[in-house]
């Protein structure tokens, strides 16, 4: 499972997060800009927070093929995501994102679980886009833009784990912030409480027709499992998270499920 590996991968994240509210916020970024000394300094709080947000959203996406996901775990992760969103809203980071977003599709365009499923199906058709890129995808309109967005977003995910990437990011801080926060924008579209499709959607039913709300909550996105596990395979290979082992067994289970569905 890579626990020791996991422990060593995120030493910086740990030290930052332990300090909780004693964060430096924008002060932290001053440490990063410019010199090599900045590389050795603890990465900025915002970056860390973003990374935690990314990790949490990925965790929420992961679902077991055959067995219902653990509701307690899902609720705790979703609460963490909400916390981050609230803090970012209070920080004014959220406002910063709003002003910088460039002719985005309106906030009414929500990245619901529907979209996540759709992009997973896209991948099933052969488009190689990391699953994380789904947060970036704004349907067919922004295809061209998306590839660059995806790359910067993917690197943002990997930044804490790969100093190389963070150096790259530091060299172009402004540009990356733009892309970075644009993707943040899209992520937070999912978290907007006023929007009908928010992260809570992850708990609500995707398919009205057959399932009870209860069962959908516990099944997470059970009727989209197949699509997700396809995306999981590509995603896991690109980010090498601890979820690898889950993905492999998920794929075996996927075959099993397909067998059952095909036979019935």
């Amino acid at each position: 499972m890579g626990e020791e590996e996991g422990l060593h991968q995120t030493p910086f994240l740990d030290t930052m997060f332990v300090r909780g509210l004693k964060r430096k916020c924008f002060d932290g970024e001053e440490d990063i800009e410019g010199t090599l000394a900045g590389i050795k300094a603890i990465p900025s709080y915002n970056l860390q927070r973003q990374s935690l947000l990314d990790m949490s959203l990925v965790k929420l996406q992961l679902c077991h093929m055959l067995v219902e996901p653990n509701l307690c775990r899902s609720v705790l992760i979703a609460n963490t995501v909400r916390q981050i969103q609230e803090e970012m809203t209070q920080d004014g980071t959220w406002q910063m994102i709003n002003t910088q977003s460039t002719g985005q599709a309106s906030l009414d365009r929500l990245v619901s679980t529907d979209i996540l499923c759709r992009s997973s199906r896209d991948q099933a058709e052969g488009k190689h886009v990391p699953a994380y890129g789904t947060f970036n995808k704004d349907f067919e309109n922004d295809q061209a833009q998306d590839s660059s967005d995806t790359m910067s977003t993917a690197s943002a995910v990997q930044a804490p784990r790969n100093l190389q990437s963070s150096v790259w990011e530091m060299e172009n801080p402004q540009e990356n912030k733009g892309n970075f926060q644009k993707s943040l924008d899209q992520i937070f579209e999912t978290l907007e409480n006023k929007s009908p499709n928010s992260v809570e959607d992850l708990f609500s039913e995707v398919d009205n027709s057959y399932y009870d709300l209860d069962t959908m909550l516990t099944g997470m996105m059970s009727n989209t499992k197949m699509g997700h596990c396809d995306s999981l395979e590509t995603f896991s290979s690109s980010t090498n998270t601890a979820s690898n082992s889950n993905c492999k067994s998920d794929l075996n289970d996927l075959d099993h499920i397909v067998e059952i569905l095909v036979e019935s």
């Binding site: 995120t10 740990d14 509210l21 609460n79 963490t80 708990f203 009727n223």
Partner: protein, 481 residues
């Protein structure tokens, strides 16, 4: 040096005329600890006794132990595993000549309690993993226990058979029927002794009452009813009735999108048959009285400790989630386990625990990594000793911890096959949080987070403990002189 004596102090901490629980302090002095220093002669010396399970490191998924429970006399020890099996061990009668050790636990019965099922409506598998086992108190020669997986609870009867009838007139010994025309004489069948056979049979199956995953079952002190709790609901059952159960707690929001809290554990009070508690993922415990209303959505008491602002982080809520709640045998206290600590609550005081013990505080700086590898969601259990003076819980690296409530001393021990000589006293372990590591200490980064002790049990009367590693069951007992 026997004897303890009590001092009572009245402390006027408030303007109230009646002393509250905070105002009255009981101090217990133990003469032994006064003369020998804290924890002097009182400390238990734990020795390895037995280990059950496969030796090899390759752990079969089905062999992962998921629950451990002594029965009320301590003579029987039940384990449940991920493969849906229940294994019951029985303690041998004490050998009078071997006064230096207590009886060993040997396999008494093994049976398949739950099978994997497939929910066709949701296209999801229902795991056969045994989440909890609870024993009923013994009423006759047979033993009864409740075992549950995520969805179904079963009442099992375990009975012994040590004689069988022989000498039927119409049947041969092997069971074949004889031709009646060949019967020329009649005889009376008699019981003859046979090798002991232990049979387990399911007597009741309590199904289809839980939409979410069952995390707890608890038998009421009336021994007629029991509760089962899942993530959002708690149901009350009668042991005799399987087609009906009463919903007594329902925290499911009307709109599932508003869900922010789930039930993590529940237990009946050991003496009061109308009182139970349930814990939540937000670190609260609610005590409910079933006499107040049919649906106990309004708690009688809410136990919650205010958050320490200096320790606040994004993981604060996750680590405050309570993984286990256990009443003391006396019923006066309850213990809760969250990710980093064990807390003892006085039922009369809701605003904070009376005691807090840190299990592995050195992990606080590693929470992000533990979140990444999902270890932060591990659900550790905890247990009391028979006299409610010591509490025990598990940790990582096959370590487990004990806290003596009287002496305030704690100890860390390891369940490992390296210490497997009987009557060898276990060496205390120490984790070095930071800085220079002393000899024999282990650093935090060297801990094996795959080796977690989630389930422990303490014999109700003796100093015998059962500690479950991933797929092995260790039995330790105190050194008898």
């Amino acid at each position: 040096m026997g004897g303890d004596f009590w001092c009572v102090f009245l402390w006027h901490g408030s303007n109230e005329s009646l002393p509250s629980a905070e105002a009255v302090m009981f101090l217990k002095f133990s003469l032994r600890s006064v003369f020998y220093g804290a924890g002097g002669g009182n400390d238990i010396q734990w020795c390895f006794s037995q280990v059950k399970g496969a030796v090899d490191d390759d752990v079969a998924e089905a062999d992962i132990i998921s629950t451990v429970e002594f029965n009320h006399s301590g003579e029987l020890l039940a384990t449940g595993d991920k493969g849906g099996r229940v294994v019951i061990f029985q303690q041998e009668q004490e050998n009078k000549t071997q006064s230096h050790s207590r009886g060993e636990y040997n396999v008494y019965s093994t049976f398949q309690s739950h099978e994997p099922e497939f929910d066709y409506l949701k296209s999801l598998e229902i795991e056969e993993k045994i989440n909890k086992i609870r024993w009923l108190p013994q009423k006759n020669a047979a033993q009864f226990l409740l075992s549950t997986n995520d969805k179904t609870i079963k009442l099992w009867k375990i009975s012994e058979r040590d004689k069988r009838p022989e000498g039927y007139n119409l049947k041969e010994e092997d069971g074949r029927y004889r031709d009646p025309t060949t019967v020329t004489t009649l005889r009376v069948p008699v019981f003859r002794p046979m090798d002991l056979m232990v049979e387990a049979s399911p007597r009741r199956i309590f199904a289809n009452a839980h939409t979410y995953h069952i995390n707890s079952i608890s038998i009421n002190s009336d021994y007629e009813t029991y509760l089962s709790a899942d993530d959002l609901r708690i149901n009350l059952w009668h042991l005799e009735i399987t087609d009906r159960s009463f919903n007594i707690v329902d925290i499911k929001p009307a709109n599932m999108e508003e869900l922010t809290e789930v039930i993590t554990a529940a237990e009946f009070h050991p003496n009061s048959c109308s009182t139970f508690v349930y814990s939540s993922s937000k670190g609260t415990i609610r005590l409910c009285d079933m006499r107040a209303s049919a649906l106990c959505d309004r708690h009688s008491k809410l136990f919650e400790e205010p958050e320490d602002p200096s320790n606040r982080s994004f993981f604060s809520e996750i680590i405050s989630s309570i993984s286990d709640v256990k009443f003391s045998h006396s019923g006066r206290y309850m213990m809760t386990r969250d990710y980093l600590s064990v807390k003892i609550w006085d039922l009369n005081m809701e605003n904070r625990p009376v005691e807090t013990y840190q299990v592995h505080e050195y992990l606080r700086s590693k929470l992000c990594s533990l979140y990444e590898n999902d270890c932060i969601f591990d659900k550790f259990e905890c247990c009391w000793n028979g006299s409610d003076s010591i509490v025990m819980t598990g940790s990582y690296n096959n370590f487990f911890r004990m806290f003596d409530r009287n002496t305030k001393r704690d100890i860390t021990l390891e369940a490992s096959r390296e210490n497997n000589k009987p009557r060898t006293v276990l060496k205390p372990r120490k984790v070095c949080a930071s800085g220079k590591r002393k000899k024999d200490e282990i650093s935090v980064d060297s801990l094996d987070f795959n080796k977690k002790i989630l389930h422990t049990a303490w014999h109700p009367k003796e100093n015998i403990i059962a500690v479950a590693t991933t797929n092995n069951l260790y039995i330790f007992q105190d050194k008898m002189n």
